[in-house]
Symmetry: C2
Subunit: 922 residues, 2 copies
């Protein structure tokens, strides 16, 4: 890197860098430079760029040749500005050395303070400042921090020495220690270093400086940092910068202090200045939490610090300056800022500012308020809240104040929190909830469609088996219900009505709390907080609605779900699963009668009983969704799912419908499949038993006709055929459906703007979508099954290895959560293009679980999707994600119209992948 | 159709048409014209073209306006030539009216003879010929045939009348009836027509003629014809022609006769003139089989007709002429001909000639002989035998002479025939076969890998469940063993050691015979004939080998299979399934120990025991396949397949390896999957348990090293990773395999030209083949799983509806038998192209069951496949099919280089599908 500059100075109003230089200087560094430029009181210093970190790891942990000289020059400049000199006992410069990556990175070496201190400096400084206690306190801190992060010693040995000293001196708090005590401690710390490293603590401040720098760069690759980056998708290539800055001291007596402030309330988002400080302390004391910090002002008071004097009272001048800086920084950065400050003998210094972390609720409030204030545009406002943050708002959640005792962990299958008494079967769940008004948690080895009533009744669901998209997970998300699935530490013993969880035995009725957002399982009842769509959220989402192009629908199977969907902003139902209607306890036996019928006549008799029930459902749904489209999927699951499995249930049913038990057992046996996912289901049922689909369609059409005739409601039924693999399947079914429809319409003499379409959920359907489009007015991508078949991966069986696949980086993300763009995405791409070839106006959307996933939504507009459909509870998230997608594509367009390096990069990438895409998609 | 000619005359050496006009004149018509042109004695007549049939169905069963005139003109010409007149009692012309489609079509109206006969003609003709018996015999035949095919009466009523008359006259045979009797019969037949139609039998010969023509055209659409066309893939659009031809009579006394001859022996193919005749008879008598036909010559004699005089003896002149015609026709048509002839009072007439049907053995013999004779080229010779015919030669088959009592039917899952005593579990099968030397048929509800030893021991396998590619079917085909699968009429009661089949109860030990080629299940032991590769077949296949470009490999898992594969011409092993080695009874428990191990160490201990066994297997296979490549697939099936299911087996195993039964049960339970096909299998095991793959690879490499070192054998191991969905899976596994390989090679200090590649058997793998090709030196398409996943269709569960799918034309062919080109084929296409993008030299082949299917093989060269691999027994078929594919592509190339309508058609088709393909494959 000849001629490249590695070290960037800041101080006294001038800085080599600025806020935009995050990539080069790291977040902390860039903001130090920026604040310096703004004329704010930042202690001067210099930043060693991330390029050095990059070089360090590419060159066997050595530095660029020119670095030494650049650091010397920058240090000399700093010494000049401060009129002090590093290591010079007469005029000693003390500095802090801090890491600073592009993104905040806990787990890395963070800070070494008081660097430059040594025996000579301490001695001379004690004399000059006449504050031996302060000096040796600072010195012993340096030794301990340096030993920990640079020399790799266990920091507990220093803690123990401190504790021992306090015991000996009969004191309990550090602040009670005297100057001689600190001096002794310093000597002890030095001897600890000597004993554990066989070397003296370095007295040479250059050695200290380079040691600290090396430790910062080295910490980029420590295991904790690597794990954190993996979890947070931070590229290794980013590297960290190092900031060397002149020390200021908040521990120089009563007129000194150190603190943290937020320009708005980070937990509510309210526009009030909020912060805490500690008088006579160094930064690490605030973090360490040894002393309770005091509020900076009246508004920052809370239960535990309400009695303490505020900064406003104690140091009104410094506080006033801080208030001014608060406005200046917020207006400058146009976002809520988190500020670290130190007051040294009455003078305010800023040590850091950055966009403040905030709760989801605060994020919305701040985004909306700032847009109203004109500080940011509505578009910027939308981009200030991530869908993931947004999600937190939509589920009951654990009270963060409450104590929790985590006993085991499973997959965070459906977010939210739930607590209740555990039960092990759906009937007990139903009875306890309905009759005894108890809150219950349903615990099952895994769930099946027969458990639905119990799942409905339960607060939350816990399973031992199944993945993120297992039956339990999918149904729970559909119900907006908390679920922790696939807990390997759980064994359920149904017979004994107990379970072993994390090595402990729990009996039916014991209390448990689930956190569906983390997968944590806690003993006892932990308090939860209910969700709500506030006025702020409504307004925020209305802005999203103005920007997004993608329509958002909901997957809803009942009038109740439909009503919820509308309140969450659904613009239609994208998937109404008719089979869920079949599982209702007052219908299931009729459905079973239909399945068990020996001949078409018997089947027809049962179907005629089911018809009015379905018709009533559809009327309810149409009424709720008036004016909006409703996509109704005809029967999809294999018939054996409807038959009873348990002996007692078999006996009951046989008696009720009057057939021999043995026959029932035989039928259930004969319907069993090796791979039900790939079995006799979907439109294959519609080919084998046309009467089922005909009756379903009749129910839809009669419901629609009667509503139009009697209530004058606008409605748009979309009849959807599932699991089509070959156009002829669709053609045969469409033909008989059309015939039935015509008959119904003729009978009622009304017109209904209905359409007939299909799911695209099998690779073959995607690959022959041009043929299928001959008979389909719309495509709805069933991305769950499409993912299962494209990957050859059962969502119910993959839990045992999917985790390790993600850990090992084989899958970046769970393909059942975020759509795999390369494989499944290319099938969708192909299907869309082929479909339009035959029918240019074909409508298409996505009704898989992925429909509610922001990363997937980001991908949908590229495919020209008209809508995505997801659980009602996820609709608000989808609305926001769709707005983000619209903004991203707008940004991309602008970028492509500019002559910029970014555009060049995009174009090059484009050419590189063009040949590939050519093969895949033409 | 203005100006189009519909009627084509032939007679007296001149003909409007020729052999090449099959499309227009039908097969029979075209050959009548051709034979006339050749100067052969064909009774004159005319052909009404297939265009008329087409017109007939497009215009509400009416004829083109000009037809009447054309028929009149052709009839007038015929009358002129014959110097007779239709319907003229003085000089009556009698004609036959016959259908004649492009392909022979049983099920259609075939023939009306003696048309033109009526009361007046009969009377006058009786006088003139002085043969009242002949005349009224002819008349009554006309009435009966006409009533049947034109008037739609039940022909049995005429049969009954005839039988009644014979009883009255006290005779048993038609030939014993006198002239007055036939006269009476004629009157009775006429009154039957009157009674059943309320109309007189038409006396007008024009009415007769047009009635007969209408009946022929009408019969094109009768249900039997429609069914036949469907089964034989004959397009409806082809239509039939009608042949009207002057009658000649084989029933004019002792110097008259009628017969059928083949230019070579149709059952052996030997070059000898072969035929049968009946003196004094009309054609239908030969077909009806009322009298035993006599041999035309010495060579045609057999057991039942050996005593009868030959045509050669009875009518030497006519026979000599026939012999001349035999050579002439065979040389002219360059194929074995089936000739129908009639001798009227010493004069020979030819009524039909066509390529003769023949047995598979005869087809080969004739094709080889004709090539040797120089009559046809080797290429033509190869095209004379279809792969389907060829298949018949490779399995034991039922003796066609034997009587059979079919009790039920299942799917013809694996061809061949088998008979033996039924047993219901694999252990009994093994014991009866091994110890008691009995031939057994294994009958199971369905089979599983645990049944392998019983399947090996059995002659044939019968299952109640599972489709054409169920476990039973696939394994049976792999073993070249007869299998009838998915028999719905079968219920097995294991407890009672009996089964109900087709409503009858069978006990263990009862005899049953299976025909795996038809799916028939017969009671008792039906005699079978063993297959053999004759010298003719070997020679024939050597010609195929010269022409084909595609390499043929075999799927073989043992040295024994490998040896068979080589004798059947395999050029390598395309799929060696290592798990089949695991099922051996002396290993399975060690494998189970490995699965049940609690930790990697325990697993490692068990694996170390398995290693030498696998190594020995590989050495055996490499030795058999020396000089040829062997593709070894690492462990693929989910681990639960290896664990015992039965209680007794569980107890035994638990005791043997010393773990609690309960633990074994729990493990088996925990490994159970909802959809094992999409579960924890294939390379997913290699990711979870690298030690398994490492040990397998070590076994392969050590085996190879020792053979090279000790025996100097050339060998080419290809290590194949199954079920890859993502390139990273392959990369991780390849990395550790390479490491192991290097270690082994270093230890032995030898060089082995091994390669590492992957199965492409999941849609996602196909769609990201460019990424996967980074780590794969070859692709092997696993078309079984690729079909299952692309269709979302379990091959084990689809039997219940796949039949009806084919019947209803949803699937043209079973997609598990013949590769679906549109869906699965486009995935393969994409994968090949993407793969070559990354690695231009990548090798690819097909190792699915489809590898042995001729229609699939036809498709492989287009994809640039290097080889297909199939069951050893199917290798000869594959060799022939590959030669056919090479010839077809050669033909296509020639066609594309000519300016012809065919080329234009091809190009237009090409443009039409270009946009589609562009999207699919670039």
């Amino acid at each position: 890197m000849p001629g490249r500059k590695f070290v960037f100075s800041f101080g006294r109003g001038k800085a080599d860098g600025r806020a935009g230089d995050r990539v080069l200087l790291g977040g902390k560094g860039a903001n130090l430079h920026e604040m310096t430029r703004l004329g704010l009181p930042v202690p001067p210093g210099f930043t060693i760029s991330t390029d050095v970190c990059d070089y360090f790891y590419r060159h066997l942990k050595t530095y660029p040749v020119s670095l030494k000289k650049e650091v010397s020059r920058a240090l000399a400049k700093l010494e000049r500005v401060m009129d002090l000199q590093l290591g010079n006992p007469e005029r000693p410069l003390l500095v802090s050395v801090r890491s600073g990556a592009r993104a905040s990175m806990p787990g890395m070496m963070d800070t070494i303070l008081n660097l430059g201190m040594n025996d000579a400096v301490a001695e001379s400084l004690s004399l000059r400042l006449n504050d031996e206690r302060f000096v040796y306190d600072s010195y012993r801190r340096l030794i301990a921090m340096y030993a920990d992060v640079v020399l790799g010693l266990d920091k507990n040995i220093f803690e123990e020495a401190l504790e021992k000293l306090k015991r000996e001196r009969g004191v309990t708090r550090d602040s009670q220690l005297t100057a001689p005590a600190y001096k002794t401690l310093t000597a002890q710390f030095k001897s600890l270093v000597r004993r554990h490293t066989q070397r003296e603590f370095p007295q040479d401040s250059q050695e200290q400086l380079w040691g600290a720098m090396g430790a910062v760069f080295g910490s980029w690759m420590n295991p904790r940092a690597i794990t954190y980056r993996k979890l947070n998708r931070i590229p290794e290539s980013w590297g960290t910068a190092v900031n060397v800055q002149a020390m200021v001291f908040g521990n120089r007596g009563g007129a000194s202090a150190t603190g943290v402030a937020f320009t708005r309330d980070p937990s509510t988002g309210k526009k009030r200045f909020f912060g805490e400080f500690l008088p006579n302390a160094q930064g690490e004391d605030v973090v360490a939490g040894i002393r309770t910090p005091q509020p900076i002002n009246q508004q920052s008071k809370n239960g535990s610090n309400g009695h303490s004097p505020t900064l406003e009272n104690l140091m009104p001048k410094a506080y006033a300056e801080l208030v001014k800086i608060r406005s200046l920084l917020e207006n400058h950065y146009r976002d809520m800022q988190d500020i670290e400050f130190t007051i040294q003998e009455g003078t305010l210094y800023l040590l850091q500012c950055r966009n403040g972390k905030r709760t989801a609720a605060a994020a919305i409030k701040i985004a909306v308020d700032m847009a109203h204030e004109g500080l940011i545009t509505k578009e910027e406002s939308l981009q200030r809240v991530t869908p993931a943050q947004f999600e937190q708002l939509l589920h009951p959640r654990l009270d963060t104040q409450a104590k929790k005792n985590v006993v085991a962990r499973g997959l965070p299958a459906s977010p939210g929190a739930a607590c209740g008494q555990i039960v092990f079967d759906p009937t007990t769940a139903f009875e306890w909830s309905q009759n005894l008004k108890r809150r219950v948690i349903l615990v099952r080895p895994e769930t099946s469609p027969e458990d639905i009533h119990g799942m409905h009744a339960a607060e939350g669901i816990l399973t031992a088996r199944g993945g993120m998209t297992s039956h339990a997970a999918v149904v729970a998300r559909g119900m907006g219900k908390c679920c922790v699935a696939g807990c390997n530490d759980l064994t359920v013993s149904l017979n004994h009505r107990e379970m072993v969880l994390g090595g402990r035995v729990f009996k039916e009725g014991d209390y448990l709390t689930l956190d569906g957002g983390t997968g944590e399982i806690m003993t006892g009842a932990v308090a939860t907080i209910e969700p709500s769509l506030t006025k702020d959220i409504e307004e925020f989402l209305s802005w999203a609605d103005q920007i997004r192009a993608l329509r958002i629908r909901a997957n809803a199977d009942t009038p109740h779900d439909a009503r919820i969907a509308r309140t969450f902003g659904a613009e239609g139902i994208g998937l109404c699963r008719t089979e869920h209607m079949f599982f209702d306890s007052d219908r299931i036996d009729t459905v079973r009668e239909m399945i068990l019928a020996d001949d078409p006549e018997g089947r027809q008799r049962a179907l005629e009983k089911i018809m009015p029930m379905q018709k009533k459902d559809f009327m309810g749904i149409f009424r709720e969704m008036k004016g909006l489209p409703v996509t109704i999927r005809l029967l999809d699951p294999p018939l054996h799912e409807f038959l009873p499995q348990k002996e007692e249930e078999i006996r009951r049913l046989a008696a009720k419908i009057g057939i021999p038990e043995e026959k029932l057992r035989r039928k259930a046996e004969s319907l069993k499949e090796f791979n039900p996912m790939l079995g006799h289901r979907g439109c294959r049922l519609g080919i084998s038993f046309p009467d089922i689909y005909i009756v379903q369609v009749r129910a839809v059409m009669e419901a629609a006709c009667e509503l139009i005739r009697d209530e004058g409601i606008d409605l748009f039924p979309e009849i959807m055929i599932p699991l089509v693999a070959h156009e002829k399947e669709l053609k045969i079914i469409k033909d008989y459906i059309e015939q039935e429809n015509k008959a119904v319409l003729a009978r009622y003499k009304v017109h209904i703007p209905y359409t007939i379409g299909t799911m695209i959920e099998l690779p073959r359907a995607a690959l022959t979508a041009d043929q299928i489009a001959r008979h389909a007015e719309f495509f709805s991508f069933g991305t769950n099954d499409l993912t299962q078949t494209a990957y050859g991966l059962s969502r119910d069986d993959s839990a045992v290895f999917l985790d390790s696949y993600q850990e090992r980086g084989i899958f970046d993300k769970d393909p059942f959560v975020t759509l795999d763009q390369e494989g499944v995405g290319s099938l969708i791409n192909t299907a869309c293009r082929l479909g339009r070839l035959t029918r240019p106006t074909i409508k298409h959307g996505n009704c898989g679980e992925h429909g509610g996933d922001p990363d997937t939504i980001a991908f949908c507009p590229n495919k020209g999707h008209h809508y995505v459909s997801c659980s009602p509870i996820r609709d608000p998230i989808a609305r926001l994600a769709a707005a983000h997608a619209a903004l991203a594509s707008k940004k991309l367009k602008i970028l492509l119209n500019q002559k910029s390096p970014a555009r060049r990069r995009l174009k090059n990438n484009g050419q590189m992948t063009a040949r590939r895409n050519n093969i895949l998609t033409g």
